[in-house]
Structure formats: structure tokens, C-alpha cells
């Protein structure tokens, strides 16, 4: 138990440092981007007075160090600034867009894991059989398919063709929660399938690795059933690489939201970023960057903690 508490504290400390770095990097990136954000935002017709006014509004004419202090102070108070175009705080803009992104990521990863774990395990156990060969080939194909292409195909068949699911969007703002989730089915399936390919391969490889280990033989010699040998003795040992790749997949899903939400017309965080970039809405870009980076750090933290729970030998 002391091991877990110590690792927890250590990792939390590490997380704080990483987040501080992220904040600094985000601050610097926006400042070193060529051009005056105010000038860029107002376009070529703006008068110098307009630009100066916007600069003051954005706090750009204060000394850098003061700007940085202001920025950090804001973050500590949960204030990511004011969007230039949306006429609302960045935090509210993000909150309004979080739901589709969150549920899409959640469902995609659930679908991916639900496919990958059983298929990967079974494929490893039945190594070299027809089933295994089919799995190896299919995962290779699925991993090579871009999720947006698969998404478009699914729309073609199940939305346009069969009409079972909406082709795009997230429904009107006043629709029920279930109605909104209905819109997520096709994109979640597309992302789930593509992500399951990688996780299946890792699961299969990790299981193959441990199935040859001595303690698996020991378990059999003890009289444990094959099911017990695989699901208890082997699987727990194979979990570390599997957890790692699931963590990576979640991180990639969050980052990949930009493409997915564009293809499926979902008003999520990715969509917000795309429009912010197109309109040079710096506070929004900055805020989203921070939030996404924080999610990355959080996922890594959770993955590290899972390592400790799964394997008593891991020390952080």
C-alpha cells in the first residue's frame, strides 16, 4: 500500500511539473507565431487604431512577463480568457463542445476494447490456425484504413442506404440525450474498428509472449483449467502492454477529434479548434491546446497507476 501511495504522490508531483511546462510552451507558441495576432485577426482593412485597441483588449501591450503572470493567474482561477469571435469565455465554449467529443471517445474506445481483447486473446491461444491468420490479416487492413474513409463508407451504407442512423451532425440543441447519442453510433463504430486493430495486435503479441512463460506451465501442472490459465495467469501478465496501447489510443482519439468531427459534422472540441484556427481566435486555440494537453497528462497518469495495480514489481 505504501508503494502505491508513494508512486501516487511522485506521479502527481511529476504531473504538476509537466502541466507547468505545457502552460509555458502554449504561452510562448502563441507569442512567437509570426505576425501580430491583433493585426491578423482584424484583417487587412483594419486601421492602426483598431489594431491598437484590440492589442490593449487582449493585453498584448503589457510586458511579456506581466502577460505570462496574468495568463498563469487566469488558469489557476479557471479562466482561459475570452474568445474573440464567440463572445463568450473560452471555458464556456469548451464546456459547450465537450459532450460529443467525450462520448465519442468513450464509445470508440469501449467498442475497440470489446473487439480487441477477446479477439486478440483467442488469436494468441489459437496461434497459427485459420482464425489467427484471418485476424492477423484483417487487423493489418483495418489499421491501414483511415478512420474518415471508413466513416464515409458507414455513412454511405447505414445512413444514406439503410437510413438507420443520421448521416451527420449532433441533432438540434433541444433533442434528448438518447437522440444525440444516436448520432454518435456511426462515428464511434468507425473509430472503434480502426482502433481495435492496433489493440488486437498488441493483445495477441502480449499474450503470445506470456503463454510461453514458465509460470503458465506451472499453472497447468497445478491442474488449472485452460480457461483459468489464460484468463487468470496469462492475461494479468500481458496487461501492461495492453494498457499502454489503450492509453495511447485514447490520446490519439482526443487528438484525432479534429478530423472525425469534421467528417461527421459533430459540434465537438475538434470542431471548435478548426474554426478557431481558421479565424485566428488565439484565446480559444490556446485554451483548447491546454485542455487537450492536460487530458494527455491525465491519461498517462492513469496508465501509470494501472501499471502499479497490475504488476507488483513496478516501481515509479
Amino acid at each position: 500500500m505504501a508503494r502505491i501511495v508513494r508512486a501516487l504522490l511522485k506521479r502527481l508531483g511529476g504531473m504538476a511539473i509537466v502541466l507547468a511546462l505545457v502552460v509555458t510552451v502554449v504561452f510562448v507558441i502563441v507569442r512567437v507565431t509570426p505576425g501580430d495576432p491583433a493585426a491578423v485577426m482584424l484583417g487587412s482593412d483594419a486601421t492602426p487604431e483598431d489594431i491598437a485597441e484590440l492589442r490593449t483588449k487582449m493585453g498584448l501591450d503589457a510586458p511579456l512577463i506581466a502577460q505570462y503572470g496574468q495568463f498563469v493567474l487566469g488558469i489557476l482561477q479557471g479562466d482561459l480568457g475570452q474568445s474573440i469571435f464567440l463572445d463568450q469565455p473560452v471555458t464556456s465554449a469548451l464546456a459547450a463542445r465537450a459532450e460529443p467529443t467525450f462520448f465519442l471517445t468513450l464509445f470508440s474506445i469501449l467498442i475497440a476494447v470489446a473487439i480487441a481483447l477477446p479477439v486478440g486473446i483467442f488469436s494468441a491461444v489459437k496461434r497459427g490456425t485459420l482464425f489467427d491468420q484471418v485476424v492477423v490479416t484483417l487487423t493489418m487492413v483495418a489499421a491501414s484504413v483511415p478512420s474518415f474513409w471508413l466513416g464515409l463508407m458507414l455513412i454511405q451504407v447505414f445512413a444514406v442506404g439503410q437510413g438507420w442512423f443520421p448521416a451527420s451532425g449532433y441533432g438540434a440543441p433541444d433533442t434528448t440525450f438518447l437522440e444525440r447519442l444516436h448520432h454518435l453510433v456511426l462515428p464511434a463504430v468507425a473509430l472503434g474498428i480502426v482502433n481495435s486493430a492496433l489493440i488486437t495486435r498488441f493483445t495477441r503479441a502480449a499474450m503470445l509472449d506470456v503463454l510461453g512463460d514458465d509460470y503458465v506451465r506451472t499453472a497447468r501442472a497445478k491442474g488449472a483449467s485452460e480457461r483459468r490459465v489464460i484468463l487468470k495467469h496469462a492475461l494479468k501478465n500481458a496487461l501492461i502492454p495492453i494498457i499502454t496501447v489503450i492509453g495511447l489510443s485514447i490520446a490519439m482519439l482526443v487528438a484525432g477529434a479534429v478530423v472525425t468531427e469534421t467528417v461527421f459534422g459533430l459540434p465537438g472540441v475538434g470542431n471548435l479548434v478548426v474554426s478557431a484556427v481558421l479565424r485566428r481566435d488565439y484565446p480559444v486555440i490556446q485554451g483548447t491546446l491546454l485542455v487537450v494537453a492536460a487530458i494527455y497528462v491525465l491519461i498517462n497518469f492513469i496508465v501509470d497507476m494501472l501499471y502499479i495495480l497490475v504488476d507488483p514489481r513496478v516501481r515509479l
Partner: protein
């Protein structure tokens, strides 16, 4: 004898096991017949690839179903296991037959507690709840003499030493009071003193339970110690079987004779002043001719290596590992100094520190007049020309993707000593020198046996014409007959090139043969050092005595003379930060023979 004792617990009849290969089914063991009675120990002995483990795994039906096929009969108390259903087999495994394996370090599941793993056997076979099993687990752990069993119940395997893990394996195998125990090289990976403890424990438990034991080993010393009857296997065939004393006294088969003649035995040196070659065994007759004693080394030559007060420490969060502590010795050209001791005693780290593969914390290592510990990159490179290293594992120390010719030529090319054409000739010469043929240079490592690979490693070490070689367990992983041949090769090369060896080994019988002087290490310190004869014939330190007397003697008549077990965990060289090692004093017993005085 009662009726039930007469019926064998296990009776294997005409067992032939085949593996599926690209060319069809290939038999790996043929027509094996073996019987084990209650309370009896039967040994299956043979070198690697002889099929002894396959015999054990066939008996448990643990070979992969699609890729292995067993024919014949395996009768367990009269019931043929080859016709048992998978469910029946599960009841047999761990219930009627317990099994322990060679590698205690990897045979336990690292992610479950010891208690959980022992309890599993009880839950599976005796229908106990996990809660009820716990009391029984404690009893079992105490029975296999795990100290402080109660507090260790919830610990994970990585906190246990090899010997303690093997005790856990035994507790697990015996949990359901099996009629038969199959022990597949149960002590091979353990230190000799721990081996003596485990063998003692197994014998006691066997007596209490009246179990039959099928004991698989390559070590004739262990066979002589434990087995009532012995079966000798060679390349899948049963060569000879009979009561153990008869096999040792009057072996009938040529192979058995050759095997017995090749075993390194303690106490065969007579009054030889220098190392003695192992007997040459004629494979056609199995007859041996005693090996020649090598030329003595002149005593008045300046040492080629001087190690002074060498210490190596590794920092850990909670303390420091004092891996090597205040070690001093020297080595003259043409001389072999053996570093002996058990795993974790610091002998390998000493060798690595001398080669600067790890950095020493203190002390000096002077090779050919230059202090290696202070050498810069250039001087270190020059040093690596005169000093070479041979490692234990001939399978891991050769790159599988490059030909052995390139592997041997590499050091010469890397040091810019010669061109490719010249190097090729030199490779041919080196291969001949180590008893291989020049034509083998184009082959890859997987085409060679373990012994041949170790010869290749030696050729590679010789390529730069070193004056000094660190041989780290260089013959330990080899089969007995091969071990004798490679040791002889090392002795011949030493005579020819006046090579100095630092011979790191835990194998006392080999050490006695090849050494001029011996240093015994314990917890990072040298506790005794001196001429070979002085150490083996007049050991002074308690640990040296314990080490020598724990070596099993390949003579059934002298059974039971192994050291009484201590059942201790080896003490650890992990010390708190700021620990100051006590000053050690050495007493000179006879010229050159020093023993560490007990701490005051």
C-alpha cells in the same frame, strides 16, 4: 512390503513421443520404460537434448496437443493417462502428480502473491474456499521451512530468493499430497548450499508422505545423492537402467561410462602443483585416460593484474548495494585465479569492474602498469586489446545475424590491426586453434551447439592476442562432456600463450581442476584466498568449508554426507546509506594462504 507398495505408482511402458515438424512426425523419445514405486526415487539423467524433460512433460500430458503425440502407456496406479480425458488429467495434475521445475525464478507467477498461488492448488483440487485454504497454506509454508511464513503469505515472488521460491514451488506441488512428485532439474539453477538444503527437504517430505519421486537431472552428483534407481538417456533413447549403486559401480553402456568418466569430481588432484586437464574420454569404449598436469608457472614473474582495495557500490533509494567491498589480489602471466562464491557474492561484478564494464567506487585495477580505473577512452581501448572477456551464455553472447567469421574478425577490424583479407586468414587460424574447422567461418551461430559456440566465443576473445582473460562462468552452462573438453581447451591455450585467467565460477569441481589459486567471495568480500591445494585441502573459513562440503559427491556410497541444511535466506549486501564496512584483518595460514579473521 505390503501389496499396495508393490504396485508401482507410475509405470511408463514403451513411451514414444513425437513432435510435428515440417517433414512430418519425428520421435524425440523412443520406447521409454520406467517404474516408480511409492517411497522410491527414480532419476532420469542425461545431457541437454536427451529427452528427459520431454519424458516428464509427456507423463503429465503437458506437451501442446496438436504438435506432440505420445504412444505407449503411462499407467498411474494402473490407470492409463494417455486415454484420460482432459478433465481427468486436470484432477491428476497437481492432485495425484505434483511437479516442480528447474527455474524457480520464472516458474512462479509474478503478479500473484505466494499465498494465492499455493492456495490455488488447494482450491482447485480439495474444494476448499480461499479463506479455508489460507490456514492450510500457512501449514504448508512452515512445512517447507519458509521463515516467518505468516508475514510472507501476501508477498509477491520477486521478494523471495531462488531457494525460497523453490520451497514455494514444492509447497505448491505437495499441497494436495500427491502420490508422485516429478522434479524436473529442481536444483540446477540454485547455489550448491541451497541445493543441499532443497535436496534434504525433498527427502524428508518424501519419507513423511511415502511419495514416489521421478527426479530429472543432468548432475550425476545429485543422482548419487538422491536416486534409488537411475535411468540414463541419450538422444531420446534409454541407454541403461538399474539400481543407482550398480550404475555407478559397473556401468554397462559405453555412454554411461563416458558420462561418469567426464564428471568433474572434487578431490581428484592428487598432489598436482598446477591445474590438471580433465580425463580424455574415448567415445568408442567409454574409457578414460587421466589428464596431464599442466606446466607450473614460474613464481618470480611480475603480476600482470593487480587489484587493490576494489569496491563497487550501487545506490538504491533505501540504501546501497555493497556488491564488491575492499577486494585485493594479483594475477601473474600463465596463472589462473578462480573467484568462487554463490550468486550475489560479487564475483561477476569484480570481473566487470576490472574490465571497466561497471565503474568501481574505490580502489585501483592495474593492468600492465596502467591503472584502468583512471584510464581515459584511448587508454581504455588499448587495455581492451590486452584484456578480454568470455561470458556464460554461449547462446546470448553471439549476434545471431552475423556469421561467426565476422564475429571473430570484428575485434581485429575494430582495432584497425589488419585488413579484411588478413583478418580472414587469422579467423581460420583461430577456429583451428579452438578445435573447429576453418570452413565454418561462413556459418551463423544457430548452426552450432552450445559447446561449439563457447569455442567461438573463445576464438573471438583470442583474436586480439590478449594476455589476460576474464572467464565469467565460461563453462557453467555446458553439458558435462563438453564442459571437460572446453576446460581442457582453456588449459591448452593458457600453456601455449601464457594467458592469465580470472576464472569466475560457482562450480567447485571445475575450479579445483583449472585453478592455480582460488579466492572465495562472500557478500562482496574475499573471505579466503590462497593456492588451490590449500583452499581445497585445508579450508579455514567457515563459509569455504560450507561451500566445499555442499558439492554433491558422485558416489552413491557416500550419500547423506551433504552439509546439514541451514534454511536461511542468504544475507543481502544491501546496506543503509552511510554504512561503513568494518575493517577486515587477514591471517596468513601458510605461504600465500590468507583467511579473513572473524569480526571482533
Amino acid at each position: 512390503m505390503t501389496d499396495t507398495a508393490k504396485r508401482p505408482v507410475l509405470s511408463v511402458e514403451n513411451l514414444t513421443t513425437s513432435f510435428k515438424t515440417a517433414e512430418g512426425w519425428r520421435a524425440v523419445i523412443r520406447d521409454i520404460n520406467v517404474e516408480v514405486n511409492a517411497g522410491e526415487t527414480v532419476a532420469i539423467v542425461g545431457e541437454s537434448g536427451s529427452g528427459k524433460s520431454v519424458t516428464a512433460l509427456s507423463t503429465m500430458r503437458l506437451l501442446p496437443a496438436g504438435r506432440a503425440r505420445c504412444e505407449g502407456r503411462i499407467l498411474l496406479e494402473g490407470r492409463d493417462l494417455l486415454h484420460a480425458s482432459e478433465a481427468e488429467m486436470r484432477a491428476v495434475r497437481g492432485g495425484v502428480i505434483g511437479m516442480i521445475f528447474q527455474e524457480p525464478m520464472t516458474s512462479l507467477n509474478p503478479v500473484f502473491t505466494i499465498g494465492n498461488q499455493i492456495a490455488e492448488a488447494l482450491v482447485l483440487h480439495r474444494d476448499l474456499s480461499w479463506k479455508a485454504a489460507e490456514a492450510e497454506v500457512l501449514r504448508l509454508m512452515e512445512r517447507v521451512r519458509i521463515p516467518a511464513a505468516k508475514s510472507r503469505l501476501n508477498e509477491y515472488p520477486h521478494k523471495f530468493s531462488g531457494g525460497m521460491r523453490q520451497r514455494v514451488m514444492i509447497a505448491m506441488a505437495l499441497a494436495c499430497r500427491p502420490k508422485l512428485l516429478i522434479a524436473d532439474e529442481p536444483t540446477t539453477a540454485l547455489d550448491v548450499t541451497v541445493q543441499a538444503e532443497i535436496l534434504h527437504l525433498l527427502r524428508e517430505l518424501q519419507r513423511e508422505e511415502n511419495m514416489g519421486v521421478l527426479f530429472i537431472t543432468h548432475d550425476m552428483g545429485v543422482v548419487a545423492e538422491v536416486a534409488d534407481r537411475t535411468l540414463v538417456m541419450f538422444r531420446g533413447d534409454m541407454i541403461e537402467t538399474g539400481p543407482t549403486p550398480e550404475i555407478f559401480a559397473a556401468p554397462k553402456a559405453v555412454y554411461t561410462r563416458a558420462l561418469l568418466a567426464s564428471i568433474p569430481r572434487l578431490g581428484t588432484m592428487g598432489d598436482a602443483a598446477a591445474p590438471r586437464r580433465f580425463p580424455e574420454v574415448d567415445p568408442a569404449s567409454g574409457m578414460a585416460t587421466e589428464g596431464r598436469v599442466t606446466e607450473p608457472v614460474p613464481a618470480d614473474v611480475a603480476p600482470i593484474l593487480t587489484v587493490e582495495k576494489l569496491s563497487v557500490r550501487f545506490a538504491l533509494p533505501h540504501g546501497q548495494i555493497h556488491a564488491v567491498e575492499d577486494v585485493s589480489f594479483d594475477l601473474r602471466p600463465g596463472e589462473t585465479l578462480s573467484l568462487v562464491g554463490e550468486s550475489g557474492c560479487g564475483k561477476s561484478t569484480t570481473g566487470r569492474a576490472i574490465m571497466r564494464l561497471v565503474d568501481p567506487s574505490a580502489g585501483s585495477v592495474v593492468i600492465g602498469g596502467q591503472d584502468v580505473t583512471k584510464a581515459g577512452t584511448g587508454a581504455l581501448r588499448a587495455m581492451r586489446r590486452t584484456s578480454q572477456m568470455i561470458f556464460q551464455d554461449p547462446f546470448a553472447s553471439l549476434n545471431p545475424r552475423i556469421t561467426i567469421g565476422s564475429a571473430i574478425a570484428e575485434p581485429m577490424l575494430a582495432h584497425g590491426l589488419m585488413g579484411r583479407r588478413e583478418a580472414k586468414e587469422r579467423v581460420a587460424e583461430l577456429l583451428e586453434q579452438v578445435g573447429l574447422s576453418a570452413a565454418m567461418a561462413d556459418r551463423h551461430p544457430h548452426e552450432f551447439s552450445g559447446g561449439q559456440r563457447q569455442r567461438i566465443s573463445i576464438a573471438r576473445a583470442l583474436a586480439l592476442e590478449p594476455t589476460f582473460i576474464v572467464a565469467d562462468e565460461a563453462v557453467s552452462a555446458l553439458d558435462v562432456t563438453v564442459k571437460a573438453q572446453v576446460s581442457n581447451l582453456l588449459l591448452d591455450l593458457q600453456e601455449k600463450h601464457r594467458l592469465a585467467y580470472l576464472f569466475i565460477s560457482h562450480d567447485m569441481a571445475v575450479v579445483e581442476r583449472v585453478s592455480h589459486r582460488v579466492a572465495v567471495m562472500f557478500l562482496g568480500e574475499i573471505v579466503e584466498i590462497g593456492p588451490r591445494a590449500a583452499i581445497f585441502d585445508n579450508p579455514q573459513h567457515a563459509y569455504t568449508r560450507r561451500l566445499i562440503s555442499a558439492v554433491p559427491i558422485p558416489d552413491p556410497a557416500r550419500r547423506g554426507q551433504l552439509n546439514p541444511p541451514l534454511n536461511e535466506e542468504i544475507k543481502s549486501p544491501l546496506r543503509p546509506h552511510g554504512y561503513v564496512p568494518p575493517k577486515r584483518a587477514y591471517r596468513e595460514v601458510s605461504p600465500g594462504h590468507f583467511v579473513q579473521e572473524a569480526a571482533a
